[in-house]
Each structure stands twice: as C-alpha cells, then as structure tokens.
Assembly symmetry: C2
Homo-oligomer: 385 residues x 2
C-alpha cells in the first residue's frame, strides 16, 4: 500500500481513497480527504447529477463513472451509500479494488449489516478482514453534494465497529484517515453500538412519540386548553415526535432487538418511579430525579455545567427583531449558551429564550433593556411549576 505522511501531525494517511456516494457524508469526506493531503481522492455516485455537482464543486481529485472504476487503485474504499445497499456495493468494491484495499461504511446501524457484509465477502471468496464498519456522528446523508463541507467531521466522533474477523490493518488505515481529517475515533462492538443508539436515540424517539400520542388524545377531548397548558417542557420533550413516521418505522424496526431491550429497561424504571410515587416513598422519587439530573448534566455538559440563566426577551414575530437582541449581546461580548424560541399559542406574541452564564445575567438584562426590549429572567424548572 502506498501512503503519504502528514508531517505536521504525524498521522499516516492512505495514499488513494475512493468514496462511493456523493451525498453530504461522502462529499464532505472526499473534500476533507483532499484538504488533509490524501494523495488521490476519487469519488463516484450512481446519480450522474451528483457526479456532475461533485465535480463542479471540486470535492474530489477525480470523478469516476462507476464503483469498479472508482476503486481500481484504491488503498481505502469508503461506502457512503444508504444502509440497504452497503452489502451489495461492498461486494462490488471488494471485487474490483486491489487485494489489500480496506473497506469501511457509514451506515447508522452496525450489527446486522456487519454480519451481512462479512458473510457475503467470505462467500465470494473475498477476505472479510478488510472491512470495518463505521458511523460518523455528524450531519446527514440526505442533503447531496451541495451541502458537502470539508470541516464537517472536525471535532466530531466517528465510531468504528471491528469484530473478531476484522483485521488490524483495516482499523489502522481507517483510523489514520479519520484522525487526519480531525475526527475523534472510538471503537465499539457492532452490537454494543446498536444497543447504545437504541438507548440514546431510538428510545427517546419512542418515548417522545408516546408522550405526544397520549397528550394528543387528551387534547382531542379537551381542545385548546391542552394547547395552552403545554409549555416549554412539553415542546422540548416531544420535539422529535413530529418527525416522519415512515422514516422512523424503518429506523426502529432496523434495530428491533436493541430497541425492545431499551424499551423494557425504560418501562421497568418508569414502574419503579410509579411505585415510589404510589406508596409515598418521595425520597426514592427524589433520588431518581437527582440521579437523572446529574446524568443529564454530565451527558450534555455544555450550557449546564455552570450556573446559567434563561433571559426571556419578548419579541415581535417579525424578521430582524431577533437580530437586535443577539447583536447587542455579541457586541457586549456576552456568549449565548443556548437559544430557544417560544411562541404564544395564537402566534401573536413570541419570546426568545437566551441562555447566558449566571455571572453575566445582570449585564445581559442591561444590554437588552438598552435596546428597548422587554426582558426578564426565568429559572429552569420554575416555568413548569
């Protein structure tokens, strides 16, 4: 294998990378490879329009007409295609690439897919140790080459899911490239990856959907009162429930076993909470709430790892008013930790919630008031009570 060395960082980059799929992930990766100094970056896509745009945007050194042509001289092939076509494209790529070429993918579920790819390679007389699964924690593959951004993976985590079959070379080559484009590499068994995704993405989705469904029933019965009572907590907690049902059917059923296990764990913990509340064991209830609060603050550290306050700015629902507030804060050197919009039910009167560090609370209020804005401070949780 030829390889070029990035002298600044001392990371070993593969000499020739082929990217199959020119969407956001594939396009961004190709562009990032070029920027990082990979010897040659070749991109292909089955859609001629995508190939054309990728070429116009200079995402790769060369645009190839098909997979076989793209991978012919590759040291590393990245399959940035939809999950359901990964096994088939992996086979084509492995058959057309040099014998020692490494393969990886970017699909969001790893367990079944990895088994599938490995067994197909083996059945075709190809070496399954050349493949290692991957899952970048950034962006979305749905937005095409125009959205490609060479900095998309900078600072992002890219999970690799080696198995007992995976060769050391595969992990080394892929890790080397990923570090070279600024990503943080973490290794995880495929099944463990899927379990964790079930727990922190798929379960929250089901929890949110079920909440929205139950509240929706009450809303159908009680009308606009429910809409009036549903505040910021409801809005945040159920936000993902508004997503496309067919898309999520595919995601959830694609990870069925892990989602079921996560659901059972969640249901058991809910029962514990229910039982504590039912028997008046309020200390136990508070223990769970405190443990959850600590876990949430630990898992989403930014914006909650210090004393913060939400400054509520009454806003007209018109373009430009928002900018007045944020510009004033920016000019005063006040960092905005988080932002949310809150609209009145009838849409007539909105508010902007600006989260700032507790230490600059008074300055933030002053700066915003000086712009003629009506402001007050809201403490977390209090607005829900």
């Amino acid at each position: 294998m030829s390889s070029s060395r990035d002298p600044g960082a001392g990371r070993v980059l593969p000499g020739r990378v082929a990217v199959v799929g020119g969407g956001l992930i594939g396009g961004s990766l190709a562009a990032a490879c070029r920027r990082a100094g990979v010897g040659e970056v070749v991109l292909t896509d089955r859609d001629p329009q995508v190939r054309r745009r990728a070429g116009e945007r200079g995402l790769a050194d060369r645009i190839a007409g098909d997979v076989a042509e793209a991978v012919a001289d590759a040291d590393l092939v990245v399959l940035a295609v939809p999950a359901h076509v990964v096994p088939e494209v992996a086979l084509t790529a492995a058959a057309s690439a040099p014998t020692g070429a490494i393969l990886t993918d970017v699909a969001s579920l790893k367990s079944n897919l990895t088994v599938d790819v490995e067994s197909r390679l083996r059945l075709s007389g190809l070496d399954p140790s050349r493949f290692v699964g991957g899952h970048p924690m950034a962006g979305s593959e749905h937005s095409g080459p125009d959205a490609a951004d060479p900095t998309l993976f900078q600072g992002a985590t890219w999970i690799l899911t080696p198995t007992a079959v995976t060769g050391t070379a595969a992990v080394q080559v892929v890790s080397g490239l990923l570090r070279g484009i600024g990503a943080r590499v973490l290794a995880l068994a495929p099944q463990r990856h899927d379990e964790l995704v079930a727990l922190v993405s798929h379960l929250p989705h089901l929890a949110a959907s079920t909440l929205a469904d139950v509240a929706g029933e009450a809303s159908a019965a009680a009308g606009e009162v429910v809409l009036a009572i549903a505040g910021g907590g409801f809005r945040d907690t159920t936000r993902v429930a508004a997503s496309d049902a067919a898309l999520w059917r595919g995601i959830l059923t694609g990870n069925r076993a892990a989602v079921l296990a996560a659901l059972e764990r969640y249901r058991d913990r809910l029962s514990e909470v229910h039982d504590a509340l039912a028997r008046g064991d309020d200390d136990r209830l508070e223990t769970v709430l405190a443990r959850a609060s600590e876990a949430r603050r630990r898992m989403v550290p930014k914006a909650t790892d210090e004393d913060v306050v939400d400054v509520v700015v009454a806003l007209d629902d018109r373009p430009g008013t928002l900018a007045v507030a944020t510009t004033a804060l920016g000019e005063a050197g006040i960092n905005v930790e988080d932002l949310a919009m809150r609209h009145a039910v009838d849409g007539q009167r909105g508010a902007l919630l600006v989260r700032v560090a507790g230490g600059v609370r008074e300055r933030a209020l002053q700066v915003l008031s000086a712009q003629g804005l009506a402001v007050h401070v809201e403490s977390e949780g209090a607005a829900e009570s």
Copy 2:
C-alpha cells in the same frame, strides 16, 4: 362594587384591585392593571425589600404594609403568593376585605388548594362563593418585582377553575380584569386542570428524567461513547431532566393522583408500542408514530405547520458570531421560526440550527454563505438515523 369601564374595548374592570405578593406574577399583574385603567391598584408583600422595589418601579398606585391594609377597600384581591400559603392568606384577605370582594389566586395546582380555601372560608363563616382559583400560563413567580412586566399576560392564557360553590360574580369579575389586561380566559374544573397539567407537564418531566437516568447508567458503563452518540434528539427529549430534583419532587408529589394516572396511561401506551414491535406488527407501530406526529404538530403548531428546514451554521464558540448569522437573516427579511445551539462533545466546534420556511431555504443559505459561514440543510429526523 364600584367599577370603571374601559370604553375602547367595552370590558368591565373592577374599580379597586389588591395584589398580594410582589414577585414576577404579582408585580406584572399590578403593572398590567394600572396600564389597563383599573381605578386603584394596591400591592403588598411580606418582604419589605419587595415592597420598596415595587414602589420604586411604580408597579401599583399604592404599596400597603400588610394584607389587611391592602385589601381594605378592594373589589378584587389577587393572591400571587406561593401555593402553600394561599389558604392562610386567603382567609386573612377575605376577613379584612369588604364583604362583596372577590378573591382569586395564581397557584399552579388547583384541586386540593381549591377544596382547602373553600372549606377554610366556610369554617370561618366567610362566603366561599367569592373565591375562584386561577393559573396564568406565563412566567414564573421566582424572579421578584424587578422582573415584573405589564405585558407579561398579553396573549397568554389564564385558566380559571370554578367549582359548584363558586359564584357567578367571582368568575365575571376576574374574567373581566383578565380580558382587560389582554389575557385569554379559559375555564376548567380544578381536577381536570390538574390532570391536564400532569399529562403535558409533569409526565413529560418524569419521562425525560427516566430516560436520562437509564442513559446515564449506560454512560457510566460505556463512558464517552454514549456522550458522542447522544445527539439532538436526546438533548431535546431530556432537557427538562436537568432541573432541580427537590423542586420537582414538590411539584410531582403535590399532584400525586393525577401524575400516577398519567404515568399509568403512558406505561400502557408504551407497552402497546413494545408489543407491536415485538410481534413484528410494524404497521401498528407506524400508526402510533404517525398519530403522534400529527398530534405534536397540532399541539405545537408554530414552526411545524408549514414546510420548514433547519439550516445548520458552523459557528465558532465565541460571542458575536451568532449575531452575524441572525443579523444577516433579519436584514434579508427572513423570519427565523426556531433556533437551537448544537455543541460538539468537546465544546470546540458548535453549530447553530436555524429553522426557516422551506420556501426561503435557498435564500437563507445564500445570505449566510455570503457572510463566509459554512452552512448546510438538515432534514428533521434524518440526523437521528
């Protein structure tokens, strides 16, 4: 009862309003009453500092030294004090106010409180029909008179909770005032109010806390990988779990019966979803997801009632950068429907999610790119997959 008439809107305002409690709600209400043209607005608070600040800010026509003095000539007494002292203060106020004076409160739970106030009034030989419970859907009582804002209730919903005991005059007088300050008045039985609050505020809180707790366990076992996998969906769904545990213990146990009922309903629905997924009834799963999606869009109509897209702006985590983006959009006349901050796990690279109408998507991208910002579009749900 003396009454002044607002000729513009034809709403009957009580002539003299006494507000007990000078926090955000009491202070804002007093200021709103003055603005609406109430004959005389008297404010009191047990804290001399609060009385002094309320006086300095001109929140009321007159600041009284105690409850008895404040309510002596009142047509309407608003008890804007913490829930646990409402019954006691209601008794003092009813005993000191003119016989025909109406009383209302602003506590966030109504069922037990209303029974308590009515029975105490009755036991003291005072007329319980003079009291009607209330719950404004705005702000928080925790921020003191400095946060008071006369426009806080404009367009906000104010729920009144009359019982079989409540007199027509009480509902009429309070409604007249609330409409006069621009609030929308909705009536609801106290128990129904508490049930709905349990469903759209307390249950979401427990659901979020339990999610964070279960994920926190996995995080303790799997370390930073979980942090890396937890994306925007997790962040939104568990946001309220970071709240103060002791505060929420009080809220949840204060509404125990309704919270238990809501939890049971939620658990049953989760079981249905679980069972559908377990037996491979994916159509049933999709039905629930679709119904939830529709309910969520209906209940939080703004920002999802039309085709919207999230534009992702890569941001430095420094003051001012945010303003560049929002100012550019404002100057281009592009309305921001929603805003969120997304931080990389290591806090080094953040992104701003700007939700705009689908129709202005290309213009928003253009405007932001022209500012030298790296932007792409993210479709809802896709980033989670």
